[in-house]
Subunit: 111 residues, 2 copies
DNA sequence: CCAACGCATATCCATATGGGTATACAATGC
DNA sequence: GCATTGTATACCCATATGGATATGCGTTGG
């Protein structure tokens, strides 16, 4: 079996830096494909492909506007990622907690 | 150019579900390879490869203990992911903020 | 010193990625 | 109706993935 498809889930879709850039751009507001092409400096077919992946994992939604296709962010699709990493947050912040403890102890000893 | 290497960064490394399982297991405490093999029900070489990827992105560190190799989680490596998704959090929670606003307005009108 | 154990690495395979380029298609303007 | 604009899709290619299996190698035990 090869690597999981990029469309398998948000984790895989978002592993590609360009797709994160697209999402970052859409976080500011919806945009037609052409604008994203200019913003990212990528070939139009390439941007369309990335958008397809993002659509398939539900990270964006499209709307037809004349001959343009306006893409909008659907942030909820990123929640699973947030929920997963958030579980680790206290672990990398632990060292600060420890530092706090040490400082508290030192303060205690002063008295 | 093919897809970015899984070892390119934490985003790519963590896109693989099995590797997330490994991290989840290590979040409970350090473990030798054999234990992870049992926990995940994967072939040993496969687990070793996943651990290699996780090592290369700095998500885990190894320690030699006799003929065992004990792996430990290095949560800081996940921080970039957290930092990125955290920026979107307010967007999927916006609807609750809006609800809050509505409720506040209703309360106002009561008076 | 040799056997067994614990892991890492090498190899083979099927798959699909992302890039590039060409092309198809729908909507608008003349 | 036809040309143009805005996007999507179809191909071709190089690459490296994850699974499976075999094997290398250091450590411990008898």
């Amino acid at each position: 079996m090869a690597r999981a498809a990029t469309t398998a889930d948000a984790f895989n879709a978002v592993a590609e830096p360009r797709r994160r850039e697209i999402l970052d751009a859409l976080a500011q507001g919806e945009r037609p494909v052409g604008e994203l092409v200019d913003l990212l400096g990528l070939a139009q077919p390439h941007v369309s492909r990335h958008l397809r992946v993002l659509r398939e994992v539900g990270a964006v939604v499209v709307r037809d506007e004349g001959r343009q296709r306006v893409y909008r962010l659907n942030p909820q699709a990123l929640k699973p990622i947030h929920d997963w990493v958030a579980g680790y947050r206290h672990l990398w912040e632990e060292r600060f907690d420890l530092l706090d403890d040490v400082l508290a102890d030192l303060k205690q000893e002063e008295h």
